[in-house]
Symmetry: C2
Subunit: 431 residues, 2 copies
């Protein structure tokens, strides 16, 4: 907990904003008026640069220069260029990351290679288990389930507290791959990446990380942790826009001897413009590309990544992390101070070492309509079944007074009971 005087007032929050070295970064974004946006962990907000950059791609690179832009505008190596920028945020080196496809498709690629790599050295076939968390983000589980079925592995889903037991003894001997999401999408709980990776390696397994809720939100050091593979999302804390291309990272030791990744499209070929049959994977992480890159979508993603890289001039990811924890601490403290007796419990670890950049609250009844009532007031968080009110805190554009104001609305929603209104209880397709 940041040392701030209690009880906390709105003036306390304004003073924190006045002291905030990252405050100027908010100017990078087009924030809609009247909105306090606590959902950057689902869809990041629009950077100011994006609209005009995308217009430039559409009107000039595509409209005017047409096919020539593959060469002159650098469309061809756009996945690698944006990948190199993302690399700076996750402790990766240039040439180790590409931005392409979706998180699910990228997970399919790296997990396939991870399983093939285990098979290649585990000749007696004992390591045939993929372990993950039962309530990991489902798309990761669905992809792992598919690959397990195809290649004769078992996907074993365990609770958070049961992971350690999977890394030792007989279970550890069976473990092929440990696949975890670094920061949990629902609880905001963060795994200690270095420690878990080391334990997976000690068990003889490979480590695959999903950085969907980490990249751009918390410091990540993939090479420092000696992880094996990682994937992540472009449209959350990287602000790349709805359905933005995702990214993947491969440790150099797996690039040196990479078995084919199965999505062997032409952009991953060593010489795509020779138009020859017979797949020969390109050297390095380029071999993990598949189809033709979307120049428009990559331009939007690059603008988003640039908003995070802009923090490098203000203390970098360490400063982002400091503010993130201050924001989430403040939110937790204000909920405790002002919402007591309303049935809310904290669902995110109080220990900052175990917390990502979000706070989830739990309420047995009414979590969904309370979130809807808040959204109607301009405080945008989201609901995740069962019973979770989820709030993401993006240090690049959130102010401490926003946290105060959000909690003020929450207090009012709870005190008035307005969340019981019919209109807040109608479920939308996407929650």
């Amino acid at each position: 907990m940041t040392l701030i005087p209690t009880p906390i007032t709105r003036d306390t929050c304004a003073a924190l904003d006045a002291d905030d070295a990252l405050a100027p970064l908010r100017e990078q974004f087009d924030l809609p008026p009247g909105v306090i946006y606590l959902d950057g962990n689902s869809l990041g907000v629009l950077p100011r640069a994006t609209a005009s950059r995308v217009q430039d791609v559409i009107r000039h690179e595509w409209g005017r220069d047409l096919i020539r832009s593959w060469n002159t505008a650098g469309w061809l190596d756009y996945p690698q260029r944006v990948g190199d920028k993302i690399a700076r945020l996750i402790g990766a080196a240039p040439g180790e990351v590409v931005a392409a496809d979706s998180t699910s498709v990228n997970l399919y690629k790296v997990l396939s290679v991870a399983l093939a790599s285990v098979r290649a050295r585990d000749l007696d076939g004992r390591r045939r288990v993929i372990v993950s968390e039962r309530n990991n983000f489902p798309t990761d589980l669905y992809i792992a389930e598919s690959l397990a079925r195809q290649h004769g592995f078992t996907l074993r889903l365990v609770e958070f507290d049961e992971i350690a037991a999977q890394l030792t003894g007989a279970a550890g001997d069976e473990l092929a791959v440990l696949m975890l999401t670094h920061v949990h999408y629902r609880t905001g709980r963060m795994h200690p990446m270095a420690e878990v990776t080391a334990a997976a390696h000690a068990a003889g397994a490979l480590m695959v990380w999903d950085l969907a809720h980490s990249a751009g939100a918390v410091p990540v050091d993939l090479n420092g942790c000696d992880a094996d593979f990682a994937v992540g999302c472009g449209y959350k804390y990287l602000n790349g826009g709805p359905g933005s291309p995702a990214f993947l990272w491969v440790h150099p030791r797996h690039l040196a001897q990479a078995p084919w990744q199965p999505l062997s499209g032409w952009m991953g070929h060593a010489a795509p413009f020779e138009f020859t049959p017979g797949y020969r994977p390109a050297a390095g992480v380029t071999g993990f590309l598949c189809g033709t890159p979307s120049a428009i979508a990559l331009a939007a993603l690059e603008c988003g990544v640039d908003t995070v890289l802009a923090a490098e001039a203000h203390g970098g990811m360490a400063a982002v992390r400091g503010k993130s924890l201050a924001l989430t601490d403040l939110f937790g403290a204000l909920v405790a101070q002002r919402c007591a007796g309303h049935g809310l419990t904290l669902h995110t670890p109080t220990d900052t070492a175990q917390r990502g950049s979000q706070v989830s609250l739990y309420r047995e009844e009414g979590a969904y309509p309370i979130v809807q009532a808040l959204i109607a007031r301009g405080v945008i968080g989201d609901y995740r079944a069962p019973g979770i009110l989820r709030f993401g805190f993006t240090p690049l554009y959130l102010r401490f007074v926003d946290v105060w104001d959000a909690v003020e609305h929450l207090v009012q929603v709870l005190q008035t009971g307005e969340w019981r209104e019919e209109r807040f209880n109608q479920r939308a397709a996407v929650t």
Copy 2:
């Protein structure tokens, strides 16, 4: 050959334009001044509607409405909505097509299901051969090679003239899947879809079509031909923009009993927002989705598809096809009339039934620099190794006088020998 008086003059061409019912469709596009664009088979031109529509998605749907747009702007079913529009161009019904991912990724999905389907009914394991053309577009071959390796099939590559022999006798008994690109990317040769599909079925095999050079260019009737699966590209004749999402089609008989497609991401799940482990594929073609759709890229693709659908008011794909053949006939006739003695030979069938919407010329020497010299003059075609000058003809925005002017430039390039200049002989990364 269209019956037009010879020798053809520029006035002949202007008269054809004056008679052209599709001429108004050209107004849908932002064509750069001074350019004759004969490369719409590689990257379609920019529709006028695209820039403002994409701005609307960025500024309003994303920037202002943020996460709410998953419901309010229909982002969630955007792949199905654009898919239903594409369906109208390829003889498919609503609910049979989705726009998503890349052509390569989509081919991976449908070919996986095709192979699984063959396996399920071929219990003695005799059908284990995938046949395709040796010089089919390489990404298709690379994906098929990957799946063949994974699932114990053989990819057999044959010449065009050898395909028929693969569909009968002992070869036919081994055939699992015939996978062809309907219109060949290099030669422009078009397979008779109904006939080839029937022959594949008669051999007991499944038929997978790649419509990359067909959708929006030539009439296609997938259901009428009783094909099994198809994929296609969004950024060629559909004008969806560089690296646009691609599409896939699945015949309803394969949807009723679909084995899992392997890229089982959350958007293909029956209830993605229940966030439950255990993949259950969604009913219908939705089960062929994988990751989160890109709203920005799909908006651009929709604008492109709409430019083709606009032809429905002017005779539809039949009228588009009529003009396409008139344009390619004219080009062939003018090359014959005006470029004789310059070493060019026609590499595209003269029989209109076997021709897509492009004309490829072959020249033993200088094909690459001749294309570059034409591009420098504003006539944009492209080069494909070995020796091919490739020209695509998009009836929506090309005029008959454009064909005349393009050939006039070709005549000048050949007569002056300017293509021998050093600057036209330097190879770019993308050709």
